[in-house]
Amino acid sequence: MRPKHKILVIDDEEVVLDSCTQVLSAGDCHVATAPNGTDGLKLVETFEPELVFIDLKMQGLSGFEVLERLRTNHPEIEAIVITGYATVSSAIEAMKKGAFDFLPKPFTPEELRLITRRALEHRELARQAAALRREKEMLRENFAAIVSHELKSPLGAIQQNLYALIDELGDKLSDEQKDRLVRLKKRVDDLLNLIHSWLRVFSVDLSKLKENFRPLELATVVARAVDIAHQHAIRKSVEIEVAIPGDLPMVSGDEGSLTEVLVNLLNNAVKYSFANSKVTVRAGTQDGEVFLSVIDTGVGIAKEDLEHLFQDFGRGRKQPEGAEGCGLGLAISKRIVEVHGGSIEVQSEPGKGSAFTVRLPVARADMDVVTNPSTGSQT
């Protein structure tokens, strides 16, 4: 059996308190009463009612004040105002202040029961809605963990066994069969990378990167990134040329994520390059900022695609043969660069190639403050 509903009635007329108690106690309610606002608010703390009736016209603390304090301190408690010499305007005023409804005096027992039931139902619905909201919020927050475990674990297990099988069956399978296994492995890899990208976009708080900021030589970052993108470039016979002046000022940032940005840009440049062409990485300073450009002479980007380029899932329409991708690399790169207080832009001409330029603030001599105040608030 569910516990009785707890209802508090605050009114300075004893006859109202008595009749309310009588009517509601006959149902499944437990009723407490208070003759004035001050006592009523005290009773709210100890009695913990679900619903409070408040007389608007009382000696001492007015009904409006009681209502306001109740809404502030206990938004989960429903309030109904009792209006004496009923003016509709004061009732409406009370409802604006958060009362659920108003009950004009004099009222019949049936009216009291009906309004009580409606208020309790309303409270229950509000409670359920809040619970659902909380659940939704938790789901969003835990999305990363859920997805990574529920999707990545089985894929990881599949992939691990493909690795092992390819290794073990090396001398038993025909080349065609081996090729199929390798292609399977590649597909699973793509899937894992896709999940990883989603997680990065939807749930990783990039602003946390700021905690790891330290002075960096961009040349180091470029060297690491070129090293990683190199494999990809060799396969397409694309040469990566690096031209960075030795006196380039340091920037303040997170080495891993900046490397990731550059790897993204380099991989893109290689992907959209023609075979036997060249991708150039150039760096320098301009207007107090360090810039880093990745320039290719590949297919280029159509004008109408340029504006969507840095959006989630935005890919240019012109896809060269064999260019896979989910269109999140640039979106992630942009976010990473912005967390660094910098910007990223692109210039491109279809058929001639593209140039992506990252601009980053120069690291200050005292490395205590690491963000650029002019653009630091962007996320």
């Binding site: 990363a144 963990a145 990574s148 475990h149 990545k152 674990s153 089985p154 990881g156 297990a157 599949i158 992939q159 691990q160 066994n161 493909l162 690795y163 092992a164 290794d167 073990e168 894992l192 990883h196 997680l199 749930s203 990783v204 990167l209 990683i228 997170d254 891993g256 994520s257 490397t259 990731e260």
Partner: protein
């Protein structure tokens, strides 16, 4: 170095374990498996192992981390090299595969991400065994 090395895998995903174990067995390691932290800890107490492969995210939480912490506090097991395997890349944000990550739960450990390429797995295992061996030699 000729003696067969004994490895223990603690991981609650039998399919993943199968894919990893066969690579290690083919490379002539002797491999035991525990599919939950309790069995894992018991195995470590009862049999001497040369290396532990530990899944860090088992079951509902980071039970693997608990094991790693326990090992770190155990004077007997503190020097057991541990290859920590994680399926959660977010925890090692912005790291690139193959790069050495030392969580420092125990004296000799390293972290790799699931799934692990056979070559990388064998390299890491070998390197950890070697490092642990060298440390042992020093302390004697």
């Amino acid at each position: 170095m000729n003696q067969t090395k004994k490895l223990l895998i603690i991981d609650d995903d039998p399919d993943f374990v199968a894919g990893m174990k066969s690579i290690l067995v083919k490379a002539n390691y002797e491999v035991d498996v525990a599919y939950n932290p309790k069995d894992g800890l018991q195995a470590l107490q009862t049999k001497p192992y040369d290396l532990l492969l530990l899944d860090i995210m088992m079951g509902r939480g980071a039970e693997g981390i608990m094991i790693a912490r326990k090992l770190g506090k155990d004077p007997k097991l503190r020097n057991l090299p541990v290859l920590i395997i994680t399926g959660i890349r977010e925890q090692m944000a912005f790291l690139f595969p193959g790069q050495a990550v030392h969580p420092h739960f125990v004296a000799v450990d390293e972290l790799v991400e699931k799934p692990v390429e056979p070559k990388l797995l064998l390299e890491k295992v070998e390197a950890l065994l070697k490092t642990a061996e060298a440390r042992k030699g020093q302390s004697k």
